[in-house]
Symmetry: C2
Subunit: 154 residues, 2 copies
């Protein structure tokens, strides 16, 4: 078994034992070394965004003092949900190793697959009603940003 | 203009002024009252996940001491990226108001639309290579979870 994935699996088991959240673990590797590991903490921290991958990305960013993790790799015990999948993109990561799948997660009651289906327009059952209002007013900060001479694009 | 959206827009402007990150603001409302507001802090906190909606969800969850925000509404100055969109689902929210669109964001250099396209299988240009390894070993925590008598499903 891959050494880094083994650490991710141990994290997942640790999270279950400590009642921190669902059975998921993740590891971030930089230049061949683990710089962050985490398990799901949704229950423990009352934070719906506290998935293993999110916590690992946030830890790695804090450690490297940059939001660009393009020279890092992610190992995650389960295929990331769309939240984490998008976060991996925002972190500019290029390689992600995953263990089990969204279908495996669905089989034990974690509905990552539903959110993938919503994003892929594969379901008509929508949990979230999306209502657009005040577009013109909301565009004002975009003009402020576009006209800001000292902005740091990212 | 909607009062809550106005607060979201002010947050966005505040974030630009303070060089905290991109021009985005979000507000969470519970029983008619603002319980969390936030602006993008990706640059300031060196955290690629620090989008306005994510920070607002995390603040609201801390305040209510629960990860279930199904009785809350989100106001966001721009259509959420897939990370935030999925987070809204994990928080079990039912209504989201947004101002400008992913196309408006793309026009000032924020590539939310690309990640939507990846998730919707509308592009072949993939930033992240996804490699599956060690599925059997990664399924072990799932068995631990399934067999855990005192687990808190969520």
């Amino acid at each position: 078994m891959n050494d880094f994935m083994s650490i991710a699996v141990n994290e997942a088991e640790e999270g279950i034992k400590r009642n921190h959240g669902g059975p998921f673990g993740a590891v971030i590797v930089h230049k061949g070394k683990v710089i962050a590991k985490a398990h799901n903490c949704v229950i423990h921290s009352n934070d719906p965004t506290a998935h293993a991958e999110m916590l690992a990305i946030r830890k790695a960013s804090r450690k490297l003092k940059r939001f660009d993790l393009s020279d890092c790799e992610l190992y995650t015990s389960c295929e990331p949900c769309p939240m984490c999948f998008a976060a991996i993109h925002w972190a500019k990561m290029k390689t992600m190793y995953f263990g089990c799948t969204r279908e495996d997660a669905a089989a034990i009651g974690f509905d990552d697959k539903y959110i993938y289906d919503v994003l892929g327009c594969k379901t008509d059952e929508l949990q979230v009603e999306q209502i657009q209002i005040d577009r013109e007013s909301c565009l004002k900060p975009f003009s402020s940003w576009a006209g800001k001479p000292d902005k740091k694009p990212y």
